[in-house]
């Protein structure tokens, strides 16, 4: 990055600790990170990449309908997720696999969604799922849900009490393409108007399927939020420390009652939009090479090695990631289609005669087919 860059960056692309000028105010947020924390960040990133690779393979082998790869975006996701507190609520798009991993959901839930055995995948209200809400496929719509949820958190008095175990913030993930959606602008308006305890975490991965970010915006996207009265910052999204520190600061401020903030993490989608996509039709080999050279995991590995991490640590992590992937593969292959009743269950919370009638009809019809054999 250029010296006068507005971008928060701690690690150079070679993994050298060299904070940019913009990073200086974020330095205190790194102070309490231990070597173990650093190694945890690395493990999170390595495992989520291996998970992503396995899922791409499973899709190619016909075991999933679709897979949206997260390859390349691990630092943005892991740093921000590790900066959140247990009581915070996180609203993802459909690519926040590493965030889900960090927040402790059973990652098989994501596979269920993509394999077609469940619409939601996991119970976001179950405490063991880390307040990680369900994936949302209509681009940008989750930003309004997050803002409404954050309004509720404030109404519940969980902001600015000074108790670190009580004060709560909401973080919503969204992408560069979604910034053109009306819902994202409306969520900025509602968040600013209500001064919600909320962080908008934008992963600018440079592409909305095939359309470059330059088609979405003529100005850097982090500047958009300022027009709505929301403070914002741009970070190097492939620097896990930048992602962690920026998110820590703005989540802390949101919990303290200082209102919403927006973070634009500059990153790159190394893989396809989804497995149905062919990025060679719109992405040049030079672009790809530029960003592969800025790989977030390699960069952090170089940093950790300079800090004293040895080959054994990296070998153990690789083994751990391989074990994780093997277990995931095994469990994926055991996932069966859901019962037909799941089509009718929970269409409504309360009884509904039409749905009940059609459910009964399908049961009788299926029974008649079996009896006919």
């Amino acid at each position: 990055m250029a010296e006068n860059s507005p971008t928060v960056q701690f690690l150079s692309i070679d993994g050298e600790f060299a904070p940019s000028e913009a990073a200086e105010e974020y330095l205190p947020y790194l102070a309490d990170l231990s070597d173990d924390d650093h190694r945890q960040f690395y493990r999170d990133m390595a495992i989520s990449r291996r998970f992503d690779e396995e899922c791409t393979n499973l899709q190619r082998q016909g075991q999933m309908g679709l897979w949206p790869p997260s390859h390349g975006q691990e630092a943005a996701q892991v740093g921000s997720a590790r900066a959140s507190r247990p009581q915070d609520i996180l609203f993802p798009t459909y690519r926040e696999h590493a965030v889900g991993l960090v927040r402790g959901i059973d990652i098989l839930g994501i596979v269920k969604v993509m394999r077609g055995t469940s619409l939601g995948g996991w119970d976001a209200n179950d405490p063991k799922n880390g307040n990680f809400r369900n994936y949302t496929l209509v681009i940008g719509s989750q930003t309004l849900h997050a803002t409404g949820y954050a309004m509720g958190v404030a109404f519940d008095g969980l902001v600015g009490t000074g108790d670190p175990d009580v004060d709560t913030a909401v973080m919503v993930y969204f992408g560069d393409g979604s910034t053109s959606q009306g819902d994202v602008s409306e969520s900025f308006v509602f968040a600013a108007s209500n001064q919600t305890p909320q962080v908008f975490f934008l992963q600018n991965n440079q592409w909305a399927i095939s359309v470059p970010v330059s088609t979405q915006s003529r100005i850097p996207l982090y500047l958009r939020a300022r027009g709505f009265g929301i403070p914002s910052v741009q970070i190097d999204g492939n620097d896990v420390l930048a992602s962690y520190a920026a998110t820590r600061k703005h989540l802390d401020e949101a919990r303290a009652g200082q209102g919403p903030a927006m973070i634009e993490a500059l990153t790159y989608r190394i893989g396809a939009h989804t497995t149905s996509d062919d990025p060679t039709r719109y992405q040049t080999p030079e672009q790809l090479a530029y960003w592969v050279a800025r790989d977030p995991i390699k960069r952090f590995e170089a940093y950790l090695r300079a800090q004293g991490a040895d080959d054994a640590f990296f070998a153990r992590t690789t083994e751990e990631a391989n074990d994780f992937a093997a277990d995931l593969r095994h469990r994926t292959l055991t996932l069966e289609a859901p019962p037909l009743s799941s089509m009718f269950d929970n269409v409504y919370a309360e009884p509904h005669p039409l749905v009940a009638e059609q459910h009964a009809w399908l049961n009788a019809y299926e029974l008649s087919l079996r009896e006919g054999i």
Binding site: A124, S141, H145, T147, G148, Y149, G182, S187, P353
Partner: protein, 328 residues
């Protein structure tokens, strides 16, 4: 303590119903454009912000998708929002949040999330307003799984149905016939007369059944009176719930009269009336002595208000259909 029965317009009955629901449950919020200090453009929420405060009655930014989308998030947090859409024709910017999010989230989350959100929509014509202010868009929402759709026709129903809608754990589209906001009628505060999703017989008859919802019910009662003067006995049903539809009383009525005319302000093509006609054909075919007829708005955009009376079905158009049905 109010008297057990009081004469009041639907607008006041809705206000009283909202007040009762807010007093009963402090998780009930009102959200919408101009609903706070102004009390809403139709004054339905008049006085409620002063009574319950700015955190219970929210004047929102002017964005329908934002209102519905934040209500979805609030529902995830355990709040029960009642959203006012200012006019029928302004609901479409919120369509995705209603049909793809609000309607589907209970199913998508396998029941872990409920969406107890009410969307109040002043709808329908007869008020001489400009474009987008007099539409009847209820069929879009009746077509969407996960939504409940209701429409009161009287002050008493308005008072009770709004409270039942707010108490429901499902999203409810609440269509308020704005041309009926001001005529007075009795409200019985002592008990809810009928369940939310039930069709009600409002006038008994033997020759032909007329059914409608919202403002058209009073048009049917006018037509029934004229028909009675001419010796034709008309049964009038108030649909009240457009999704689900309580078909029992409709089928029973058709079994008695053998003739059915479905009436609505909305365009007829792929409408609630079409659904009733189809279901009656399936379930009461041998009772029918004539085809089910529809009397509806035309399949055109709502016209300029100076000619709206030629668009909106009136008692004469209903009676013309009665004549056709009887002559078949």
């Amino acid at each position: 303590m109010p008297p057990t029965i009081e004469e009041m317009p639907m607008a006041k009955a809705l206000n009283a119903g909202l007040r009762a629901a807010m007093a009963a449950d402090d998780r009930v919020l009102l959200m919408g454009e101009d609903i706070g200090t102004l009390g809403g453009v139709f004054r339905i929420t008049e006085g409620l912000q002063a009574e319950f405060g700015m955190k219970r009655v929210l004047d929102t930014p002017l964005a329908e998708s934002g209102i519905i989308g934040t209500a979805v998030g609030l529902a995830m947090r355990g709040y029960r929002s009642v959203c006012e859409i200012q006019f029928d024709g302004f609901i479409y910017p919120g369509f995705d949040q209603i049909t793809s999010q609000l309607a589907k989230l209970t199913n998508r989350t396998e029941g872990s999330v409920h969406m107890p959100v009410v969307i109040r929509v002043p709808y329908g014509g007869h008020i001489g307003a400009v474009e987008h202010h007099q539409e009847s868009p209820e069929a879009y929402f009746a077509h969407t799984a996960g939504l409940r759709v209701v429409s009161p026709s009287t002050p008493n129903d308005a008072y009770w149905m709004i409270q039942e809608a707010i108490a429901s754990d499902d999203p409810v589209m609440f269509f308020e016939p704005k041309s009926r906001y001001w005529p007075k009628g009795p409200v019985d505060f002592s008990s809810s007369a009928v369940p939310l999703h039930s069709t009600r017989v409002v006038r008994t008859g033997t020759d032909v059944t007329l059914i409608a919802h919202g403002a058209m019910v009073s048009t049917l009662l006018q037509a029934a009176q004229v028909a009675a003067d001419e010796g034709v006995s008309v049964e009038v049903l108030d649909l009240r719930s457009l999704s689900p539809i309580d078909f029992g009383p409709i089928i029973s009525s058709v079994e008695k009269t053998g003739r059915l005319i479905v009436c609505q302000e909305a365009p007829g093509f792929v409408s609630v009336g079409s659904e009733i006609a189809a279901t009656v054909a399936e379930r009461a075919f041998y009772s029918l002595q004539s085809p089910v007829l529809r009397v509806s708005g035309f399949d055109t955009p709502y016209p300029s208000s100076k000619i709206e009376t030629f668009y909106l079905p009136d008692a004469d158009r209903v009676l013309e259909a009665v004549d056709r049905s009887l002559a078949y």
